[in-house]
């Protein structure tokens, strides 16, 4: 049995209770290997997912499902650098994915 992360989907359920994704431009900060991204991305209009660690982003890009191509983009970037290069008011929804601490 491979390692199973939150097979009960408690995190996904809590996320869907808290946030509306339909038609939203989403920025996920600290996406890692896309573990959480896959769970909501199909509902969003567009997802930008960033992480400062290259290994996670490489894995996320490799595992990007075909149906999400064009809808999800992964960037190997720290939030400060990403924010500096971003226009204001660009996102409807931002997710700090276990990344504030």
């Amino acid at each position: 049995m491979p390692v199973q992360v939150d097979p009960e989907n408690n995190e996904t359920r809590a996320l869907f209770e808290m946030a509306e994704f339909a038609g939203r431009q989403v920025l996920e900060i600290g996406c890692g290997d896309g573990r959480l991204t896959w769970r909501y991305a199909a509902k969003a209009a567009q997802v930008t997912a960033i992480d400062p660690y290259a290994a996670g982003i490489t894995k996320a890009r490799l595992n990007l499902p075909t149906e999400l191509r064009g809808r999800v983009e992964f960037y190997h970037r720290a939030f400060d650098d990403f924010a500096e290069a971003s226009e204001p008011s660009a996102y409807d929804l931002m997710i700090l994915s276990w990344s504030l601490c």
């Binding site: 390692v3 009960e8 996320l15 924010a83 931002m94 700090l96 504030l100």
Partner: protein, 147 residues
């Protein structure tokens, strides 16, 4: 952290939302399950995120006090990561925690090794189908930029 939250506010459209997900400030449990029954549950040793979590909570509180964000809703949930063996789960956690810059000293490493030996013993005694898990309590919050 407060600066990051200020930047988040700048990037959010009016009426947008910030969702923050992070573990609560208590050590995760290492648990052993057999057919859905908990055979063992103790705090994981060498847990050292307390200070980071404390700082994250403080940053959020400060941003709410400064009226950058309103905290609209928050709740907690259980987050479990299961492995079929202690080495498998430890490998996975080591990779996941490789992103954290902290390290443990020799004494802590020894305590951790003894702890996981004990967990492995319990798993062996439980027999086929036993699973080991890390059980974290996690808080999710929705914040809205003010004004």
């Amino acid at each position: 952290m407060v600066h990051a939250l200020e930047e988040i506010r700048r990037l959010l459209r009016p009426g947008g939302s910030l969702i923050d997900i992070h573990p609560v400030q208590e050590a995760p449990l290492t648990e052993v399950y057999q057919r859905g029954r908990v055979l063992f549950a103790e705090p994981r040793v060498a847990y050292d995120y307390d200070e980071d979590i404390h700082q994250a909570e403080q940053a959020l509180t400060q941003c709410v006090r400064r009226r950058l964000f309103d905290r609209e809703h928050s709740r907690e949930f259980d987050f479990l990561t299961y492995g079929s063996s202690v080495p498998e789960l430890r490998d996975f956690l080591e990779q996941a925690n490789a992103f954290h810059e902290s390290s443990i000293d020799d004494a802590e490493a020894t305590r951790e090794a003894v702890f996981y030996d004990r967990v492995e013993g319990i798993m062996k005694a439980a027999g086929k189908g036993a699973k080991v898990a890390i059980h974290e309590r996690v808080r999710i919050a929705r914040l809205k930029p003010t004004g």
